[in-house]
Amino acid sequence: MNKFSKCLATAGIASILGISTVASADTDLTMYYPVAVGGSLTKIVDGMIEDFESKNPDINVDAIYAGNYNDARVKALAALQSGQPAQLSVMFSIDIHALRNLDAIVAFDDVVSTDAERKWLNSFYPALMENGKADGKTWGVPFQRSTIVMYYNKDMFRAAGLDPEKPPTTWAEFAEMGKKLVKKDSSGNVEQWGAMIPSTGYPYWMFGALTKQNSEVLMNQAGTETYFDKPGVIEALEYWQDLGNKHAIMPSGVIEWGTLRQNFLDGKTAIMWHSTGNLTTVKNKASFDFGVAKLPGNTELGSPTGGGNFYIFKKSSAEEKAAALKLVKFMTSPEQAAHWSKATGYMGVGPGAYETDTLKAYVKEFPPAAVARDQLTHATAELSTHEAGRVRKFLDDAIQAALTGQMSAKEAMTDAQKQATSTLRRYQ
């Protein structure tokens, strides 16, 4: 039931009973949330919100779908600045520094009051908390969180004479197997690619995986320094270039994030690297036998975490903050997290979720559902700095310049590092 009809119903009942005062002690919450992978995720969120409202009749939640991560931040901040109420939102986990610089959010440590609530704040996977912490406090609570995983077409593995239960685990294997998976027609045109790693939308995120696999990170925890021009980082970009040029297992140039899943489902590529948030859609739509595996590594395995956290806005009353906390606790509780994970493919945010009957049964029946969680031990934080939008764009542009052959990996990364350093100088 939406807010308006609820108000009407409340007003109706109040007038029948002859109560002259209008207000019951209801708390109204407005929340913005993003969806980055498409599909029917909005329905799932709406369903969870309805569930919450039926259990907490004194809290009304207006959950507003606000586009992708960027749009959600824009809309939530615009609403705040224009004085419209918004008490909490799901936003990009890496927006933390920007939101703090704007003085828009409060730390959860300052909102929780009971021991039970403090315990809840410590119930999440530590790897998922990395992007939510700053200055020793927790500002973002994990909700729709993901890692990058490798989806592969088992039928194509079989057709190429590869063992479908042994996906590549190293960079060398990835290139070797990829070559076997490329299929060309009689005139030499590629009909089926070995692999695709998307390089639009969120190139820095995919690159975070490659650098972690080469035992490098892209920035420090405080978000004041970047390491784009380290030799290991440049090497990672060179490997990405090689996949398209030297090994020719990927189309050279830029690969579109938005259409990649369709490419995989249509059998145009045997392997794709993509967010776990696609898992349930791929499961429902794939007409072939597919597998999900951890990403391969060079010196180690690795993937950045990704996705959205809950934030509570500063501009809200104490009651509203308490109600918002209640909602966040509900949405991240093991049962709801398990339901969310099963419905979408995003991971259960704490160990508790995987101990619920829902996820236990689901993982047993469909083992890929646990890959994202298993990969967490190799996970690193997603690129998050001060002036995040700008720094991210320096890196995105550099990656695209290298992949399209406009610059060498070294030139592109040295350039990006120089720009990032000068942008971040004010924050050091």
């Binding site: 600045q81 003085d103 140039g253 259409t259 490419n263 145009k268 939008g389 550099a398 399209t404």
Partner: protein, 319 residues
């Protein structure tokens, strides 16, 4: 309008009062009365214009000469510092250049196509209704919808274009992923989307042209091309000016498709000025630099409109 008012006022008084010399006080009250009424009539439109156009423009100018560390801190006057940063910003020059090519690529093509389509659907052939509808359909669709459809048309492996090319044995390009052709791909879509809209204006104009001119030309034995060049095209000039201004403004104003298709990439190859302003304001959260870019954009638009009005307007025959 404003210039006309005193004149109208004089006419009104002389008519109503005849040769009698009006008393100064009556004159004053009537003038005031008349003015008040005019201002009241203007008020709704004026207040909207001031609130949503003029005031934000002034604020943008002010913001472009100030700077603060974050939106929470108070802004201080920095003079032309933001403009100095702008001159050294390579992305700014890239988007400016891109916008130039984008305008040059889309505006004349859209106009030429629009005239051709209008001439065609204005001729006496069968099914003109259906044809007009077909040409107009792209205009009805929202840009975002169109972009989402074209994203899949352009997709290198599963996309319509490359599958069609593959049928005749050509490996199609990576339409949106290749920095050399990403901008052209955007242009093609824009022309497809815009031409139908401009066709409507030309169609309306064509139907007002007097058939006697053409009959006379036929009697003189003029060829179809000569009739077009000497009669139709010159008479369409007012429409062309209108369409030209609109098309040029759209080349700067319409960036909805960038959000879906390329996000300005790869490496800013298809980035346009307005999209860069959006990125600066909402992704980089730098409203001061965004204001600086906005001022540049306003200047470009104002200059373009002025040049068009002053130069081209003189060569047009209005009837």
């Amino acid at each position: 309008m404003l210039k006309n008012r005193p004149h109208q006022h004089c006419v009104a008084t002389s008519k109503s009062l005849g040769p009698v010399q009006p008393a100064p006080i009556t004159e004053f009250i009537m003038l005031k009365h008349f003015n008040l009424k005019a201002w009241l009539l203007l008020l709704p439109a004026l207040s909207l214009l001031i609130a949503f156009t003029h005031w934000p423009t002034i604020k943008s100018f002010w913001r472009s000469v100030t700077w603060a560390r974050s939106d929470a801190a108070p802004a201080k006057f920095v003079g032309l510092e933001n403009y100095e940063i702008l001159l050294e910003d390579p992305v700014f020059w890239t988007v400016l250049e891109n916008n130039f090519w984008y305008a040059l690529g889309t505006v004349p093509t859209s106009i030429a196509l629009a005239i051709m389509m209008a001439l065609w659907v204005n001729s006496k052939i069968r099914f003109t209704g259906l044809l007009r509808l077909a040409f107009f359909t792209p205009t009805i669709l929202p840009m975002i919808t169109v972009a989402n459809i074209w994203l899949f048309f352009y997709s290198p492996n599963i996309g319509l274009f490359n599958q069609l090319l593959a049928m005749i044995g050509i490996t199609g390009p990576n339409w949106l992923g290749d920095p050399d052709i990403a901008l052209s791909s955007l242009m093609i879509m824009t022309v497809w989307k815009e031409a139908g809209f401009f066709m409507i204006f030309y169609l309306a104009a064509l139907q007002t042209l007097s058939p006697e001119l053409f009959d006379a030309a036929k009697v003189e034995g003029a060829s179809a091309w000569r009739m077009f060049r000497k009669i139709t095209f010159p008479l369409l000039m007012p429409t062309t000016l209108f369409v030209l201004i609109n098309a040029l403004l759209n080349a700067f104003k319409l960036v909805d498709h960038l959000f879906i298709l390329t996000k300005g990439g790869p490496n800013n190859a298809s980035n346009l000025l307005l999209y860069y302003i959006y990125e600066t304001a909402f992704s980089f959260l730098d409203s001061y630099y965004a204001a600086t870019l906005t001022v540049i954009m306003l200047l470009i638009l104002a200059i373009t409109a002025l040049v068009q009005m002053l130069l081209i307007d003189r060569k047009i025959h209005y009837r």
